[in-house]
Point group: C2
Chain length 197, copies 2
DNA sequence: CGTCTATTTGAATGTACTCAAAAGCGGTGG
DNA sequence: CCACCGCTTTTGAGTACATTCAAATAGACG
């Protein structure tokens, strides 16, 4: 892969560990760069997920479609974050989640076949990925707690405050799905907040 | 630490990676073994959490106390699992969670000061911990989804089915807290399930 | 056997959902 | 430039799931 295209990833990794010139080149030689259009799927429920993807630009949603055809959004991923069905990736079993692009999206993709080799060749990279997943786990647990201890309104306010960039980029009904409420109810919450001012 | 006491940990680690005699000895020399009584706290909300703990025997609950004094249980940990406030541990900032023993509990403790050294000396151990945290993250995401897409009743049935050992060991009001419902409502769900038979 | 804690039961209430319909909004074509 | 189409958001009425509070019952332990 061309160094220029990999730069956002290298900058990101540099926040966790520092790689030598050679290590950077080795890393870049192993990963794949790809563009997706709005609406395209990176992972589909039922398929085995073969990649962990770093988002260079764009935006994706990770969601689960339940038996009633209802969509439940687990996360959004924008620039400098990751997207995948990690459960499917690490076990190489069918994915529970879909990952779909909400915008034109550029990704750097780490394939299952390559990642073990990368960890072995560059142990620092394993440290980096451990740290990233640790942080992701912590956020996931905190989110679980928010869902238990906060009302829908407070969850929305938290989201708005924490991810203002994301809110502006996605339709409201997806925010509702992420918060675990219906689009109608989110609409009511918003109008209530306006009246309170 | 005496090898005998560390055996449950070594057996557990052996499922992920294989350590040489020397590595095992090095590991055991760095970790701490400790017993807690029922009711004692391993971590308290507000303190910095200095350990990641492997549960040799016993049972703990990890919970968050909200501003109304309401307890929200994030997880239970029993034999062969881990307990800590990882968020606090990795950032060395005050803990959001409490970890309390529900039974007499034996732990093997990895201190913050030691763990980096262990990762560096035994890179395989970093792999092991990465894999463990990956799995924990995946379960956390799946649980989030269950909380959105299942009713309280179905969440209870899932829990009962998935963690029968845990259900038998802890009072019902804690199960309710873990499921994110009140103790009264769980009681009603149970009586409803009995009537359905 | 009494005390303390955990569980159950019931009535009233509240938060969030469903369904249906209307209004808003952005793009496309005539 | 306006009219229409599809999609998103809003609004309202009725409903369901889960909570609160209070009181009764059951269980565990000394």
């Amino acid at each position: 892969m061309i160094k220029e295209k990999g730069q956002p990833l290298l900058n990101y990794i540099d926040k966790h560990i520092s790689l030598s010139q050679k290590e950077e080149e080795f890393l870049l030689s192993k990963i794949k760069y790809r563009k997706y259009l709005k609406g395209q799927f990176i992972v589909q429920q039922g398929d085995v997920c073969n990649y962990e993807c770093f988002v260079v630009s764009g935006c994706t949603k990770t969601f689960y479609m339940d038996e009633d055809g209802q969509e439940h959004i687990v996360m959004f991923s924008i620039e400098d974050w990751w997207t995948s069905d990690i459960g499917s990736f690490i076990t190489q079993t069918p994915a529970d989640f879909n990952v779909q692009c909400l915008e034109k999206t550029e990704l750097i993709m780490f394939s299952f076949d390559i990642i073990e080799e990368l960890y072995t060749e560059i142990p620092k990279l394993e440290r980096c990925f451990r740290q990233i997943i640790e942080k992701a786990f912590v956020s996931s647990q905190k989110r679980l707690i928010r869902n238990f201890s906060l009302s829908a309104k407070d969850r929305y306010l938290y989201f708005k405050n924490q991810y203002p960039k994301i809110e502006q980029r996605i339709p409201q009904y997806m925010v509702a799905s992420y918060l675990g409420i219906t689009k109608e109810f989110l609409s009511k919450i918003k109008s209530q907040l306006i009246q309170e001012q």
